[in-house]
């Protein structure tokens, strides 16, 4: 049974010039589940970790209760569920249990009363402890963390918990509502544990985010996914990005000398996953050259498959013909352009945080231009607005930062 996954490798150029200098080459590694039919759904182990701080009162809490109710209605009886609520205190209102009595769970959700401050790490710790009780490699183990506020002095504790969750195989999907929360923290919680992240401007959209997460959990085709790329002598990987479902720079974790090694979490059968490797190639003689080999290993618990792997080779031609070497693959070009927009906005934020306003403005202007080239007018406009904010106040706005951080990371998800 070796045909569960399909790896497609596309190079930025099929041919490189025979020259005396080192050259850059990009490889897109696209991983999809084979067969577009419904995968056999794995049972879920779903933990809701919900902010009930005072600022959640009103419309946010009403919509949150409705969205949590949706989760309860759409999980099956084989699924496990737990609900943890937190402000500066934590309460487990539904301990990890099979979803037998939906009405009872919903009635307890209805009893949540907003109060107090926001201490995310305590809530996350308790929520993960509940999820761990029901943990199984045969389940899709996922935490849905929702907050509308800044957590105080426990960011490091939150990240440690996310790292641990990622290692154990529990993905944390983070959802922020409004503008007053720390997008860096929420994005990192998701990236470190292989979860998703959502920014919600209007409380009405909480339901949609929860629905997406339920559907995503029910579409998991493979778990424990990891990629190893072994490069040939003369080829050095220099950058690695996850590009689907969200763009993120995983270079620090994934680069290991000649090799690239990345844990990818679970594979959604609808979207798949994709990685972009940027490498440097030393001069080569004319002819076919093997850059390296990519190996994807995975489990498919629903089919009793464990530790299976598929491999694909990365090739380029070295040629004397300049015209042949000038051809660039449009798909990879587009992807690199999106990653470029993401990098420029990230650098703009870093420069602004360091107080380098001129450099931040320049990077953001460049990001805006790339975004316009990509046809992403709305995010480009957000970048232009932040340039004005930088000029006036020397800082980004809270809402603008979120729009850029989430907007550029999700460029590959655009419905086109």
């Amino acid at each position: 049974m070796k045909n569960e996954l399909n790896i497609r490798c596309v190079m930025s150029k099929e041919a490189l010039t025979v020259t005396g200098a080192e050259q850059a080459v990009y490889a897109l590694v696209d991983i999809k589940a084979v067969g577009s039919g419904q995968p056999r759904t794995m049972p879920a182990n779903f933990g809701l970790v919900l902010d009930r701080s005072g600022s959640m009162d009103g419309e946010k809490m009403e919509n949150l209760k409705e969205a949590a109710g949706y989760v309860v209605d759409h999980l099956s009886e084989n699924d496990l569920v737990s609900v943890t609520v937190f402000d500066d205190q934590v309460e487990t209102i539904i301990p990890n249990q099979p979803l037998k009595d939906r009405e009872e769970v919903k009635s307890r959700l209805g009893s949540i009363i907003p109060r107090g401050g926001t201490q995310i790490s305590d809530g996350l710790k308790a929520g993960l402890a509940e999820a761990w009780k029901g943990f199984s490699k045969d389940r899709v183990n996922r935490i849905l963390l929702l907050t509308d506020g800044q957590t105080w002095d426990d960011e490091a504790a939150c990240l440690t918990l996310a790292d641990e969750a990622g290692r154990k195989g529990i993905a944390v999907t983070s959802i922020g509502i409004g503008d007053e929360w720390n997008e860096k923290l929420l994005l990192q919680l998701a990236e470190r544990s292989h979860g998703n992240s959502h920014w919600i401007q209007n409380p009405i959209a909480i339901l949609d985010a929860f629905r997406q997460e339920v559907e995503s959990a029910q579409s998991v085709a493979a778990t424990n996914l990891s990629m190893t790329a072994r490069m040939s002598p003369g080829v050095k990987p220099v950058k690695v990005y996850a590009t689907m479902p969200m763009i993120s720079d995983v270079s620090t974790k994934a680069l290991n000398g000649q090799n690239v090694m990345a844990d990818l979490g679970s594979l959604d059968s609808r979207r798949g996953q994709a990685m972009l490797i940027e490498a440097r190639v030393l001069p080569q003689k004319a002819g076919k050259f093997r850059l390296g080999q990519v190996e994807i290993t995975y489990d498919m618990p629903a089919r009793g498959i464990k530790g299976e792997s598929v491999k694909a080779d990365l090739f380029v031609m070295f040629t004397d013909q300049a015209a042949t070497a000038a051809k660039v693959n449009a798909e990879v070009m587009n992807l690199v352009e999106k990653v470029s927009a993401f990098k420029l906005q990230t650098r703009a934020l870093t420069e602004a945080e360091a107080g380098n306003i001129a450099a931040a403005t320049q990077k953001l202007q460049s990001a805006a231009t790339v975004l316009l080239n990509l046809g992403e007018d709305e995010i480009a406009e957000a970048a232009e607005k932040e340039i004005l904010s930088l000029k006036r106040t020397g800082a980004f706005t809270a809402a603008g930062t979120k729009k850029l951080e989430y907007g550029t990371r999700k460029l590959t998800q655009a419905l086109k």
Partner: protein, 147 residues
Amino acid sequence: MKCTECQTEYIEGALFCEECGAKIGTASQLTDAAGTTADKGTALVLASPGGGALDIPDKDEVVIGREDPVSEVFPDVDLTNLGGMENGVSRKHAVIHRSGTDYTVEDMGSTNGTYINKKRIQPHVPQAIKAGDEVRFGKLAFSLEAA
């Protein structure tokens, strides 16, 4: 090799400049054309990436935009049929001024801006343009080429 926009050094095979995000390769090819044609003082055309070229009429002020009979706007160069509407071209988007062999472009306060070589220009401030430059109205880009 250097980025034509910001002069940052880049390695062969790179697709975008790390510093300014400019496309590498296509941009440098365009610049090569510039040195030879601009010096000759030839008339310019707006070449669209999809092929085809729009003449810049031989007059002092050439209005670029989208035709709108209702508000009686009839630009000299009408971008309606090139997807001007979808690509954010304003009705009176920009004016190209021509003085002998010198050209400038002035943004007329358009909603989505005018760009020269990927840099947005100030509205109502004419900027010099020459063969080899990329000029973009909203999202619609052209390269300036010798006629």
